[in-house]
Symmetry: C2
Amino acid sequence: MRVIVPFDASEPKTRLAPVLSAAERDAFALAMLRDVCDALFALEYEPTVLSTTSIDSDADVVVDERGLTPALNDRLGEEPVAIVMADLALATAASLEPFFAAEGSVVLAPGLGGGTNALVVREPDFRVDFHGASVRDHRQLAADAEATLATVDSFRLALDVDEPGDLAEVLLHGEGSAAEWLREAGFEVAVVDGRVTAARSGDSPDETA
Amino acid sequence: MRVIVPFDASEPKTRLAPVLSAAERDAFALAMLRDVCDALFALEYEPTVLSTTSIDSDADVVVDERGLTPALNDRLGEEPVAIVMADLALATAASLEPFFAAEGSVVLAPGLGGGTNALVVREPDFRVDFHGASVRDHRQLAADAEATLATVDSFRLALDVDEPGDLAEVLLHGEGSAAEWLREAGFEVAVVDGRVTAARSGDSPDETA
């Protein structure tokens, strides 16, 4: 099956600006993309990164400057396609396997906050709409296309990394480049007022890695 | 297997105070407890609710006024025990089944924010410690007890409902009493500044149910 990994290469992860510089956000976003592609490679898929600008990647890269929804819908049709978001820093081969194995002409992996983090589209008439509570819209669009809908239940696929609060999850559960990148940048899990967060140590980042 | 559902009946869910009154928090917490117990009943378990004060429940209730950690550790020992938190409003029989089927002398279901939302303990020497980033502590305690550790990957089991932001997840994915309770209380999914949230409509709550 064709697997597309959409990647916003121009100013990625702006909501991480309170804790990461622009250059760091670029590097961290690429580390997450690498983890997603590595998990797909481990399952013997050959993902295509659909990027808004040219980037370096071990995967094939196709540049499309349009927004997520039109760029993806142009690539949906007769052939089955899987879409896996590039910021799933906890995605592993083991967590993606049930997603690809799920039976349904549309398979959804819901994201936290109402998003859709991964889809398999086997239904020729189905189109995506990534806006607002997209998981709800995709359920409706699947019903409209008379698709058989399957939903996978995965914490690893539910976590897309958008905000500083998400970084603690990467440190606690990540097994790849993104978690390593954060540790090398000096981030550690900290408990503040009973809540778990990711904090950058005041010490030299190199020593906390 | 014995299944314990710990429930804090005295002022439950205080972090929901910005959006729910004290009486509403009581009722909503009981609705979530009911969902968890119903999912366990559907799997033919007979859960015991370990509550800080006496409550009405379809399940057996045992009152223990102590904190979570000592109350639970007093009940761990030779016999296998499962612990399932009472605020897993998305828990279903289907999501709990792989948890109970997982092989390991300690099985963990991580919660968002570093918590531990469910455990199976088959290791006589293992004790729990619910404090801070408990998932990390439980991994270490499992290693100390020379347990074989299994971790289940479930979005439904990862979501414990603590904060207003969690309510949108219940509305989007819930299938039971807690989701119904929120709808009847007038909550709806809303998209504000591109983020999905749960908002109470200004209209009569009875009409939006």
